[in-house]
Amino acid sequence: MTAASNVDTPGVAKPGYRPASFTDALHSEWTKARTVPSTRWTLITAAILGIGIGVLVSGLTAHQYARDTASARSLWDPTALSGAGLVIAQLAIGVLGIVIITSEYATGAIRTSLAAVPRRGRFLGAKAVMIAGLAFIAAEIITFAAFFIGQALISGHAPTASLSQPGVLRALIGYGLYEALIALLGLALGALLRHAAAAIAVLVAIIFILPAIAGALPSSMEHTVEKFWPTQAGQQVTVVGSTSNELPAWAGFGVLCLFVAIVLTAAFVALSRRDT
């Protein structure tokens, strides 16, 4: 036996704990989200808007169908009617994404959070996965509730949509995917701007105001802008049929994914470089 084999190797003793993981950060982010009242209220708002408006539009429009012209009837899209509320509900979902990070800046909790999870990529990534998952599940619940209630109201007055019709299930899943991306956009804007009011203003501009301004452009430009504007293009995944003027469902959704990925990357770079 040599002396060397008896020698302890100091400094290589394993610490008595395992390293923190991404799953730990994700777990922590979920607890953060479920332990503040703002999450609950924002989701309730999204549900009231999403289901309420979808049901209202479905019911009112169904009674109009009998008086519609043939050309109006050719555009009849019952899935879009019951999903009409999601267009407004996306604001609440986007705000949820914003507040999940700006509330940390407003209270100063961001310093505690980043001391606990100092890897900026892990911190932002855990928030992103949590908020995208939460938004997707919430939006799907709203979408399917609005769909079944809406179609029930339309039934007997006008043709209804069913899950077995081509494109309907994809459109209904599409609403959840679209809202998840809007939540991520909110998170990225919130991380970049750090103030809820500023981030909400930019989000509203992206979703509603800038596309409306595009309407003032010459029509050839207007079509191109509308076709590729990220949120407009992204909404194609929620449309059952397709029109020649718009990008196909998944291509349009891809444009939105790319846009959100760019803003999230910018948020990650800002979070990594900035002092907290």
Partner: protein
């Protein structure tokens, strides 16, 4: 001898640490080691750069120059930071609508710390009964205790407290003093900032004194106290001018005192009395004055204070 921690002690090492905010250099080339097994007081006037230094240690701010490591690694690279460093920075920086329990649970989960530890640290700081209450309704002292509970969650080898006695009542101050002493006795590295010299002189074993971001002293508390508490002797005499000349010849420092007196440093009263007798100078008063530690600290940091009240006109 304190019982060594299973993980061994960890040292905070700052080397040339610098932080520039625009034109202002908040931290200016700080180099120091904070060693395990003792309470190290980090002391300087408000605005001296103590909080900025602690933020740099935690990787919250990026240094403009130099660097700082904990246990040989930059903070951002620690595999489970709360298991190695527990920090109390700003106790009010908490989401107000969450309960104390959930606040701690969130931190525990982020570092894979078991849930039962939340109950343990609430017990250590005496907040068990307030666990379910909203943090927004906490008093300053309760918030401070919650912040200390968060720092203790990961049972870390290094603890940092920024102005921990702020807002605590006398009982709380005695409690945290004992807590810091016992954490150090367990072999942990305890780094605590304060702007109160009197507080640090009873709590800390070692002092790092800074002013305007620069290191002024890095020495044991007893050495600091010894060197700071220089005695001055107040002397009254009808022949002050002659006495001053003689004292200065003997190497003493002389400064004008109040009301026709002088204050003499570097010689004790018997020596001054002998000198006066040998020179035939009459003395009317010879009294030793003790400077307080707070005075010594103010003298030391006087030139490096950013914000100070102007002296009232005499």
């Amino acid at each position: 001898m304190p019982t060594p921690l299973p993980t061994g002690g960890q040292t905070i090492e700052a080397r040339g640490l610098t932080k520039q905010y625009g034109a202002k250099r908040a931290v200016d080339g700080l180099s120091f080691d904070v060693k395990p097994g003792q309470v190290t007081g980090f002391i300087g006037p408000n605005g001296a750069g103590k909080t900025t230094t602690m933020r740099l240690i935690l990787g919250l701010d990026h240094p403009s120059g130099g660097g700082v490591a904990v246990g040989g690694k930059p903070y951002r690279q620690l595999p489970a930071p709360m298991r190695e460093v527990g920090a109390l920075l700003d106790a009010r920086a908490i989401h107000p609508s969450r309960s104390a329990y959930h606040h701690l649970l969130i931190l525990a989960q982020s570092n894979g710390i078991p849930r039962r530890r939340v109950g343990e640290v609430l017990g250590i700081v005496g907040l068990e009964d307030a666990a379910a209450r909203r943090v927004g309704g906490f008093s300053l002292g309760m918030g401070q205790r919650l912040g200390i509970a968060a720092a203790l969650l990961g049972d870390p080898a290094v603890l940092m407290f920024d102005e921990p006695v702020n807002g605590l009542d006398p009982e709380g101050i005695v409690w945290i003093r004992k807590l810091m002493r016992s954490l150090a006795a367990e072999g942990r590295t305890v780094f605590v900032s304060s702007h109160l010299m009197s507080e640090m002189s009873v709590t800390a074993d070692h002092l790092i004194v800074i002013g305007q971001g620069k290191l002024l002293r890095d020495e044991g508390t007893s050495e600091f106290v010894q060197s700071s508490l220089e005695r001055w002797v107040r002397v009254r005499s009808p022949q002050l001018a002659e006495l001053t000349t003689q004292l200065q010849k003997a190497g003493a420092r002389v400064r004008p005192g109040t009301d026709q007196s002088i204050e003499v440093g570097g010689l004790d009263s018997p020596a001054i009395g002998d000198l006066a007798a040998a020179s035939g100078v009459t003395l009317h008063e010879l009294a030793t004055e003790h400077a307080s530690l707070e005075d010594a600290f103010m003298d030391l940091t006087h030139d490096s204070t950013d914000y100070r009240a102007s002296e009232p006109a005499a």
